[in-house]
Structure formats: C-alpha cells, structure tokens
Amino acid sequence: MTGVPAAIAAVHRSDWSRIVSGLIRVTGDWALAEDAAQDAFAIAVARWPREGIPEKPAAWLAVTARNRAIDRLRSATSERSKLREVAIMDSLTRQPDASIEDDRLRLIFTCCHPALPLAARVALTLRTVAGLTVPEIAAAFLVPETTMAQRLVRARAKIANAGIPYRVPPPELLGERLSGVLAVLYLVFNEGYTAGARADLADSAIALASSVVDLMPTEPEAGGLLALMLFQDSRRAARISNDGRLLTLAEQDRGLWNSVEIARAGAVLDRAMSRGRGAYVVQAAIAEVHAGARTAEATNWQRIVPLYDELLELSPTPVIELNRAIAVGMRDGPDAGLALIDELAGSLDGFRLVPAARADLLERAGRREDAAASYREALALTSGELEREQLAARLADLEV
C-alpha cells in the first residue's frame, strides 16, 4: 500500500479508538460513535485522493466524525438525540482536557466488563477498540453477519440499560479487571493464531495489547502478554508444514522464525520484568528460552523447569502441571517426566494432551509400541483437524 490507502490504514490503526472513545464520552451513545467514526473514514477514502491528505489526518478525522455525529443526531428527532446534540455542542466550547489517553482505556475496560458475556466482550473490543467492521468480525468467528450485529446491539444495550460505567476501574478493582481485559485479548490472539489462516485477529490482538502496554506502562502483566503473543507470533511462518500440517516446536524450521518480532518481544519482556512477575510474564519468559535455542536439542530445559515451578505457584492448573512434567522429562530424561504424568493422571482424565505428552516421552525413551498406543489414545480424544493430522503423522512414523 502506498499514498492515500496507506495513510488511511495508518491513521485507522493509531486513531480509531481515540475518535470513538472521545465521541462515546461526549454522547454516551456507542452505536452513534462507531457509525460516525466509520462515516469519517469513508469520507476520507472518497476525498483524500482528490483533495490530498490533510496536514493533520487524525485531527481531520476526529472533526469529521464529530460533525457526522451531529448530522446523524439532527436527522433523528427524538428528545434523547436533541440532548446528545447539545452535549456535543457543549463539549466544543470547553477546553480540550488532557484525558484523551484515559478515554481509550475507559473504552477497553468497558468493552471487557465482566457483566457482558465473553463472546460480546470479544466482539465489542474488535469493533469498538480495534475498529474491525461487523462483516470482518463475523467472518473471523464463522458466524452469520446478522448474528454478530445482534450480539453487538445487545452488548451496547446492556452497557446503557444496566449502567455499566464508562471508566477505568478504581484501584481496588483494577487488578481483577485488567486480567479480564488481558484474557479477552489473549482469546482474540489464540483465535487468530490457532486457526492459522486468520492472522488478522492475531495482528489485532497484538496491536490492542501494545496500546494497553502504552497506556498502562507500569502493569507487568500487560507487557508479559504482549511479549508472549509476539514470541508465539514469531513462529507463524514455521508452524505449518508445506502440506498444511501443524508442526511442534521441535519440528519447526527455526530459520523461519521472525527475528525482528523475537527481538521486540525480548525488549517488551525486559521492561515488564523490571516491574514485576505474573503468569503472562513467566509464560513469556518460557517462550523466550525456546526462542533463544538455535535447535530443539539446544533448548535450555535447566532454565525452563524452574519457570514452570514459578508458573505453577501463580496459576496452579493441571495443564501447567502437565507442561512442567514434559519439561522435567526433557531435562532429566523421559522416565522422570512419565513418572510425573502418572502422578497427575487422575486430575487430567480424558484430557487429550495427556496421552500426546506420554506418547512423545515414550518415543524418546525408545518404547515405540507404548508410544504408538498413546498416540492412538490421543487421536481418539482429539477433534481439531490440524492436531489430528499432527498426531496421525507421528503415529505413522512409529508404525513403519
């Protein structure tokens, strides 16, 4: 992209949420703010190629969006829209305050409010904060456009009707609410990353996490999540084989890893770690060890196991127990890992990753038949197509 389209894309990335969040603060009307912002960008697409890019594109768009909001309100005749029009006019005569950055944070926290259903939090964040269109979000989540539009309408209605506050939570709620925001962003990222083809969602999640880090530089977990996403995303080109198969870390061609993203992730992680450590920071630290290994064999498992110990204290879940067992198996030999997995077996019954992890360690221990049996067990529990192909390929290798 060059010239006007590139300029519009850039200002959309940097300023969409600023424009929308400012209009929401003034009017209290979410749909109006989104529509007016979208109108402004459409007007830019039509006029900038003829008239040239304005000297201050973001300011031009903000003014145009505000004028569109006023036009839209004038064409409606209800009492409520009159009041909103007055509110906008009123805000024009006041001095612009220094709370613009706060507006964007307010928007993110409100979109991710725990009183909204999770699917609505994700949809609102992508629509209102990231500026994706309804058809784009619907396509990303494989639901009909009308379903996605309805979901957004209901979410905006609940914000207004239930009195969900438009604000950054007070200190006593901040930690809990911030982890809710980060969980939504990570879900968006994983949706894009797991599906492989929907890289735009992964990009949106990274961009959103970057702005949370910029807006809340003292929160280590925001930086931890951004670093974790960047480390994972750096492997994007290496994750899928030429024939479309999902590759494990050990199978990936590390020459395809994106070294620019890895370097950025490392810098973000360093800054986050200087502020503190939480579950995302520690997961990012584990990802960093993998990113630093030139080959799978060179992986420094001595460093990874204690990080899993720390992670387990921060977030004691069976999945992390399992990953720790695998790491111990890689450090101390497959039998040590298998012994730990056996201890865990009860709490993880029926979980597809257990037989897959056992199979891998059994294979490393040279117990090919036991490994094959575990791969078959894993296949029986797995429904994801890419994962199934991966397991089937490992099994086929053992059966030759």
Binding site: H113, A115, N161, A162, G163, I164, P165, P169, L173
Partner: protein, 111 residues
C-alpha cells in the same frame, strides 16, 4: 440508577469455611450510604398465589409463576451510581454465598 436485587436460593452454595457476612450490618451499611431504599424477605413459594386473567376470567393457581428448584427468597431496591457499585454491594450480601443474587436495572416509565 435504580436496581432491584432478587435474592435467590441456589442448590450449589459456597462450600468455603469463610464466615458469612451479617445481614444486619449489610442493611445498616446500605442505609448509611443511602444506596438501599427498601427490601425484605419473601414467604416461601408454597405461600404464593399466581393470578392470570383470560377472557375476562380471573384464574388463580397455587404456587409461583414458574416451577423451579431455585426461588426468590427476598428483594432489595437500590439506588446506585452504576452497575459496579451495585455488584460490589450485592456481592457482600450473605445470600451471595448461600445462594445467588440477580441484579436487574429498573426501567423507568419515562424512558
């Protein structure tokens, strides 16, 4: 904004050993802060009568309008600045542990 709290029973109460908050303190706090306008317990669903009018005829049934394992055991009417304030106050009601509390915004007629 006005919120109605429906204080409901729940078949899965909290099983932690944390002491339950005291209802009298909860009421006193709400009145002190001016966020609780009124509220009370309700008699059991077996004492309920449901009224319907169909084709001009008043029909009565014994019991609540809907049969379910959980029932509404009380209500409180709040005046809060936003949902977060209502959630915070409701979460400290003893029945938030023993049952569940539904927070419904009141929908004023003039809207």
């Amino acid at each position: 904004m006005e919120y109605m709290l429906f204080i409901a029973t729940d078949s899965n109460p909290d099983d932690s050993s944390e002491p339950e908050p005291d209802i009298e303190e909860w009421v006193a706090e709400g009145e002190r802060r001016g966020i609780r306008k009124q509220g009370d317990r309700l008699r059991r669903p077996s004492d309920a009568t449901t009224v319907r009018v169909r084709r001009g005829e008043v029909l009565l049934t014994d019991g609540p309008f809907t049969e379910s394992k959980e029932w509404i055991a009380g209500y409180d009417l709040l005046e809060c600045k936003d949902l977060d304030e209502a959630i915070d106050y409701a979460s400290r009601h003893p029945q938030a542990r023993g049952g569940s509390i539904e927070i419904r915004p009141v929908w004023p007629f003039e809207e």
